[in-house]
Amino acid sequence: MFNRFANPNRFLRLSRPLVPVMAWATVLLMAAGLYMTFFTAPADYQQGQSVRIMYVHVPSAWMGLFCYVGMAVAAAVGLIWRHSLADLVAKATAPIGAAFTFLSLVTGSLWGKPMWGTYWVWDARLTSMLVLLFLYLGYMALQNAFDDPERGFKASAILVLVGVINVPIIKFSVDWWNTLHQPASVIKAGGPSIHPSMLWPLLVMSLAFTTYYVWVLLLRVHAEIAASKIRALRMRQASA
């Protein structure tokens, strides 16, 4: 145990075969989900065809939150047990989560155009997602702000733990602020009365997004391990 990256061997061995599995699962699930979105899911009697944006918007919003919580868990594992792989997972998750969050903002705004007649309304859900995006951006900026990658891992791990405590508080205050200023939210995704013909495409798309996340995560972690090997070889050159 003379260096921190002594243990990725087993991880690499176990995870390499998973990459094509996740890739295929993503392709198949995404195809099925999109088919259901466009052909089996009903159009809304009020919103018409534009309701189909929901099948991308809602899963990406879920993934945006899920990735942030996942990052916090990985960061905690990295801080407490000093597990190098957990640090890499947290780092690799951030851009994926930020992309999901961004996607949910873009689709939300596209969905808002026919509903509200404008691309942006300070709707509670959208506002919360916007703040979440800033939390991601802050995390990534801090991660990359140090010359020593080790410092970046530790500092950003503390930040994401502070952030994850704040997420529910921010959510609560934004909801509260929103009801104060504009009572009704147009987007009513989910809810107890959702019809199965809408639930299935939503679930399949969510699953597709999850497998996509795992797939890209594995690729990114492999790339990070390769990068740390390159750094090690450079240092070997320097000290030889």
Partner: protein, 227 residues
């Protein structure tokens, strides 16, 4: 007799193993001089002993109890002098030292102790001068006065002779001798000569891994994973 000891210490900085398998033991009145080339980990070992760094493997013990269990207690029995002198430019020398003495629980006696420490190091005349007027050597002596002003068992001195002239080094040697005579212990890293009677020398080069060993793990990772 309480012994300050380290066993099987491994220090990793960044992704580089600085030293590995390092043992030491230091009893009351003992002195340890750290020698070795640049980058061999003298400063890292001192920071590790202070608790600023955590060892990647191995343990530090004080009288058999793990230091990591009680970091504040360990802080209370050590003084650390690093590369920077921590002298605030807008506070006078006395104010600078009083703050550190009070932080270590010196109450009413603090002003006297600070004055005595300044006198010992021959900078009593600087007492009311703001820190910004001090030369590098004077700042270093203020920093050394800091460790005299509040008693602590273990002194960890990282290149304490930097910026000091011969006469000041002699004063420092005297202070260390008095500290050890009172049962205190000291660890010094140094390039310059500093005379410490009966000090044990620890050559960090003995624990530095050869480049092949340092990077064996990482390189092995690649070789093993890519068939």
């Amino acid at each position: 007799m309480t012994i300050f000891a380290g066993e099987g210490l491994v220090c990793i900085r960044g992704e580089r193993t600085v030293f590995a398998g390092l043992d030491f033991a230091l009893g009351p009145g003992g002195a340890l001089v750290l020698v070795g080339p640049n980058g061999s980990g003298k400063s890292s070992l001192l920071r590790l002993m202070a608790g600023l760094l955590r060892p990647a493997a191995g343990a530090l013990t004080w009288g058999g109890a793990a230091v990591a269990e009680d970091p504040e207690g360990h802080n209370g029995r050590l003084h650390y002098v690093g590369h920077l002198d921590a002298v605030k430019p807008v506070l006078s020398v006395t104010e600078n030292l009083l703050f550190w003495a009070r932080l270590r629980g010196q109450g009413a006696a603090a002003p006297d102790r600070v004055a005595a420490a300044l006198a010992t190091l021959g900078i009593g005349h600087l007492a009311d001068l703001p820190g910004r007027f001090l030369s590098a050597g004077q700042k270093r002596r203020v920093n050394l006065a800091r460790i005299l002003a509040a008693p602590a068992d273990l002194w960890l001195l990282d290149e304490p002779t930097t910026a000091l002239d011969r006469a000041s080094i002699a004063v420092l040697e005297g202070a260390i001798a008095a500290h050890r005579a009172g049962g205190g212990r000291v660890v010094v890293s140094t390039h310059a000569d500093i005379a410490l009677d009966g000090a044990a020398a620890l050559d960090l080069a003995d624990f530095t891994l050869r480049p092949e060993q340092v990077f064996a793990g990482i390189a092995g990772t690649g070789a093993e994973a890519e068939p």
